[in-house]
């Protein structure tokens, strides 16, 4: 009897909430301005007829993130960069040489993980390289690749980073390479503008009303959407190794970290 009461109350609640939020308009009128903005984005995200407005990408989210509001994303990337610098500063001087070899998880998990890591890398690159065509992009791809660092730490123990030659300096170098690549794409129009004496804007993707500068939207017949593919690939590198750094630091045992932090306090 009791389970029928529970079932009936679930059905009734669902029906009431659905009725109130739709027919009774409990959520209020839908924002018409938002709808107008959405229409604008959809009309221009891939529109070869309006090269001065379009992002030439069928993926509206990437178009918005790296073109229509590209500066915002650039600052988000900077915030992420600063957060990782803060983490590195807190853990400064901590060395992996003191990390003990752990036994990790069972053989079953280790072997399956060993096969999954190459597939994981393929999937991450695909997400990054198709960010301008299908849902995904540099950040999502970076998060997907960073899973490898978690798998290594949890399945094989943090000592596996030492055995594989993955260290913080290399991760920082690769992340910095990603950030430099983003900066290169951001400043390319300005550099070209300075060299040729023509008008161009920071992060400019295609021609504007008063600027002829444009990144190529296609290579052969393949759509690359101007700056979008380069931003996605560079962000992929920066985010994946940014997360690598964080997960490597978090996988250190507390006593190892305390040992180093304590050393500094003594001075």
């Amino acid at each position: 009897m009791r389970k029928y009461l529970v079932l009936a109350s679930i059905v009734l609640t669902t029906a009431v909430v659905a009725y109130v939020t739709t027919y009774l308009g409990a959520l209020g009128p839908l924002g018409l301005d938002t709808r107008y903005l959405a229409k604008l984005f959809l009309a221009n995200t891939y529109n070869p007829a309006h090269r001065e407005l379009t992002a030439m990408s069928p993926e509206a989210v990437t178009s918005i993130v790296w073109d229509f509001r590209g500066i915002d994303t650039l600052y988000e990337t900077v915030v992420f960069y600063m957060a990782i610098i803060a983490a590195l500063a807190i853990y400064r001087g901590v060395s992996y040489s003191n990390v003990r070899r752990g036994s990790g998880l069972s053989l079953i998990v280790k072997v399956v993980t060993k096969l999954l890591i190459p597939i994981n890398i393929a999937v991450a690159v695909s997400i990054a390289a198709h960010g301008h065509l299908t849902p995904g992009g540099g950040f999502q791809a970076g998060a997907a690749l960073a899973v490898v660092s978690v798998l290594l730490a949890v399945v094989y123990s943090a000592h596996s980073f030492v055995e594989l030659g993955v260290n913080l300096s290399r991760a920082v170098a690769l992340r910095s390479a990603g950030l430099l690549a983003i900066a290169l794409v951001v400043f390319t129009p300005i550099v070209i503008s300075a060299l040729t004496g023509t008008q161009a804007y920071l992060m400019q993707n295609y021609v504007k009303v008063d600027s002829a500068f444009s990144f190529p939207a296609h290579v052969q017949s393949q759509l690359i959407s101007g700056t979008l593919i380069w931003f996605n690939l560079a962000e992929f590198l920066a985010v994946s190794f940014g997360f690598f750094i964080i997960f490597m630091l978090l996988s250190l045992r507390e006593e190892v970290v305390r040992e180093w932090v304590g050393k500094e306090d003594e001075h």
Binding site: S106, L107, I108, V111, V112, K114, L115, I117, P118, I119, I121, A122, V123, V125, S126, A129, H130, Q220, Q222
Partner: protein, 165 residues
């Protein structure tokens, strides 16, 4: 050189399937990723290159996949569905020791996963020193190691040995 082939093929297949496209862009980029990843990871994934590229072993793997996905899964499902649908719900659960004879880690893991993925049996732990799995068995027909081996593992191990051992 041969040891790079299986990982490269695995990565290329994963890339193409995940991307859902065989455009020149994807084939070229997928091949580059496959080459790079196999260069880095092959030494951890492939121990014996001659086994990895053996067509005979690959055909045994296909044969095993067919056997597993049809016969083994059907038998296991039939048994568990029978238990679920029976009014009395007769079960005889136990965790039993199942000794394995395999030496190759891929055989050991493939057998363990085959046992886990068939309804009614789950590998809950593995003891590599004693070469045995601990298996939760929903309807244990015997608790001794030989019965458990014969009922749960023998068929999988015999077939998978032809692929990996």
């Amino acid at each position: 050189m041969r040891k790079y082939v299986p990982v490269a093929l695995l990565v290329l297949t994963a890339y193409i399937v995940f991307s859902g496209s065989v455009s020149p862009y994807d084939v070229v980029l997928g091949s580059l990723v496959a080459a790079g990843v196999s260069l880095i990871t092959s030494k951890y994934v492939v121990r014996d290159a001659s086994k990895a590229v053996s067509l005979r072993r690959f055909l045994h793997l296909v044969k095993y996949a067919f056997y597993y996905l049809t016969i083994a899964e059907f038998r296991a499902h039939r048994m568990v569905i029978g238990i679920i649908l029976s009014k009395a719900m007769v079960v005889n659960p136990a965790i039993v020791r199942v000794p394995y004879r395999a030496r190759n880690e891929y055989t050991i893991v493939a057998c363990a996963n085959s046992i886990t993925n068939t309804p009614g049996t789950v590998v809950v732990d593995i003891d590599q020193e004693k070469s045995q799995y601990y298996v939760h068995w929903i309807y244990a027909t015997g608790l001794d190691r030989e019965t458990a081996y014969r009922e749960i593992l023998e068929e999988f191990e015999k077939r998978l040995a032809k692929v990996f051992e």
